[in-house]
Amino acid sequence: MLKQIEGSRAMAEAIALCRPEIICAYPITPQTHIVEGVGALVRDGTLQNCEFINVESEFAALSVAIGASAAGARAYTATASQGLLFMAEAVYNASGLGLPIVMTLGNRAIGAPINIWNDHSEAMSMRDAGWMQLFAETNQEAVDLHIQAFKLAEEMSMPVMVCVDGFILTHAVERVDIPQQEDVDTYLPPYEPVQVLDPADPISIGAMVGPEAFTEVRFLQHYKQQQALSLIPVLADEFEDLFGRRSGGLLRTYKTEDAELIVVAMGSVCGTIKDTIDELREEGFLIGLVTLISYRPFPVDQLRDALAEAEHIVVVEKSVSVGMGGPLANDIDLALRNMAHPPRLHSAVAGLGGRPITKNSLADLFRQSLVQPWEGTHFLDLNERIVARNIHRSRKVRRSGPIAENLIRQMATEN
């Protein structure tokens, strides 16, 4: 059913259609509207046979989900930013135990400095945690990915994070097609666990494993994610057959066939990038986009195929691995390795802490990569003047004070 609806509310409705049995949540902006939405659907009886548990922390939220999932219930939670870090230990635990929990991340920057706005830092911080990570480009895709995520998680017995850009998606009111319950029920069968706590058949889950088998446990997790590379496109096909629209999959290409430059990005910024591409193409710039949906598992072969013919790749990403550069660019580099004539890779970090990513800045970036390529990581729209002043000041004065406050003071006095 077509609705003019807030992204969070639409996701809440989609999650409810998946019939989770246990929902546990702890509030954090910009995830709040999602869990408030599902909470209301439990309260008003729309979502039957489900317990909504208000817990005292994100660590407890995911721990409750772990217990519920191990006991055979379909479990869901959502968080963002600090909340994901607060539950970090349980994040690794859920995947190590092979529990198919689905968790939404309303992607948000990590402090300090505390910042409630969007970027992908928190998702990246858990990229090695053994969860599958799917990034939504639009609210329609956010809705659809949740439905696919439950199926993916349960078929692989492995948890999935659905990553949606905080505010940009979670708080945007737009037209979304909410699926029908019957269709979701057809697509997503009831949860059939591969391991379950049952007094009739007692098993021990979570026993200690030493050097004699730990590598094998990890290998099997890695193997499963490699298997998921085949399953994710199948789930997207099945979804398309049933719901009549294409959502999800490993990646999506836009005008890449003849492109000499291909941009790689994840999430909602792909919309802006496509608009920029359309304008640049009018100038004759042969440019295209690869939208990466599945960050974990990372589709190395599919990316290599999609990027092989280009001369330049520009990775635009909303996170930075401090001391290294862009983590996505680093991963893309892996996909390009071993090519006979690999395209040249340019790495750009953009939109940190919610900074708007404009078409103008993107267009300049793409043009610059051809005529004046940079070394290392480029920080899009960096205010170089105040950075330089801060570096200068901290060299001169030992007690130069807190960086964030200094920058804000400088900006205030300059304006």
């Binding site: 049995e21 407890a60 772990i66 055979g72 007094p199 979570g206």
Partner: protein, 345 residues
């Protein structure tokens, strides 16, 4: 069997002669086979579930292994075998599940060190939505996993009155990692992180907390302390806890021969002395009120308890009695006064 074991003998004060006297009906004597079958303890039943079975790797004389075996078997009986256990990281978890073995004969889940209470909440909720209300849930952990790193999850579980029985095996330290101080370590006790060095050797006075009291403050339906010195009382408390729904907390004093520096055959003796000195008050509380205490017949001086343990050996080094022994005695006296442990019934 030790000659002063009160299960089989009793010393009448004054006459200096040991009279053999079998306690029978009306006592909590271990293994009592003369009472009617419905009054019998779980431990004396050949049908006990042995939920924690043999072959685990606990140290000889481990109070935690003993406490867990009795507590879980009682809970198993009360639940008609429909029991799921969630375990925090710690000795109990490690010594029962050395890969690829498990000593547990009930469904058992170990997630993390500090989240057992929350995981158990999830299991209990899942059983409700699955329509399996007959299945009961216990969470269990050491004092570190309960009073320190797990306290937030525990408090959340209490506050929501989730249908979980949480059992804390209190051996007064982080034993699994090599005997470090926890907030349940008593003052003056030597641990690896409160060494016998400096002006105030051992654990400092004026620190630590009582989680049973914190549990009582949550006004949950049932809180009890128990001891491996009185397994029948432990059983009775677990049974009672299992007859109630909602959040319940039982903390069991479980001596640790390794961590306390005591002989492995002294475990029960030490646990009994902890009660009789007033060191470890044994009580029950319901909905925020203390409802019963286990009285002491004769108060034993705390030195008798301390002297059996190397963790307190530094108090008895010189020729002079360390003044901190008196402070520990005062602690015991305060417990006795607070809970009325010597008051006439």
């Amino acid at each position: 069997m030790e000659k002063d074991n009160p299960m089989t003998s009793e010393t009448t004060p004054g006459d200096g002669v040991q009279k053999l006297h079998f306690y029978q009906k009306g006592t909590f004597t271990v293994g009592n086979r003369l009472v009617s079958s419905d009054e019998r303890s779980v431990q004396s039943s050949i049908d006990r579930s042995n939920a924690l079975t043999c072959g685990h790797r606990a140290c000889q004389g481990c109070g935690e292994a003993l406490g867990a075996r009795y507590a879980i078997d009682t809970a198993m009986e009360a639940a008609g075998g429909n029991l799921i256990a969630v375990n925090a990281t710690g000795c109990l978890e490690v010594f029962t599940t050395p890969y690829p073995e498990s000593a547990w004969q009930l469904p058992w889940l170990h997630s993390l060190f500090g989240n057992a209470a929350a995981v158990a909440t999830g299991v209990a909720a899942a059983m409700r939505v699955k329509g399996r209300r007959e299945v009961r849930v216990v969470a269990q952990g050491g004092d570190g996993g309960t009073t320190d790193i797990g306290l937030q999850c525990l408090s959340g579980m209490f506050e929501r009155n989730d249908d979980v029985l949480y059992i804390c095996y209190d051996n007064e330290g982080y034993m699994n990692t090599g005997v470090q101080r926890s907030s349940a370590t008593p003052p003056a006790a030597r641990t690896a992180t409160t060494p016998v060095l400096g002006d105030e050797p051992g654990n400092v006075f004026g620190t630590g907390k009582s989680v049973p009291k914190i549990a009582v403050a949550h006004e949950i339906p049932y809180v009890a302390t128990a001891t491996v010195a009185d397994l029948r009382d432990l059983e009775a408390k677990v049974k009672k806890a299992m007859s109630i729904h909602g959040a319940r907390y039982i903390q069991i004093d479980v001596p640790c021969p390794l961590g306390w520096g005591a002989a492995s055959h002294e475990t029960i003796h030490l646990a009994r002395l902890a009660v009789e000195t007033g060191f470890y008050p044994i009580f029950e509380a319901e909905h925020g009120r203390v409802t019963s205490v286990r009285k002491i017949r004769h108060q034993v001086p705390v030195t008798e308890y301390l002297k059996l343990q190397k963790r307190f050996a530094h108090l008895f080094k010189g020729d002079k009695v360390d003044p901190r022994v008196a402070r520990l005695q005062a602690r015991c006296d305060a417990n006795i006064a607070e809970y009325g442990l010597l008051d006439a019934a």
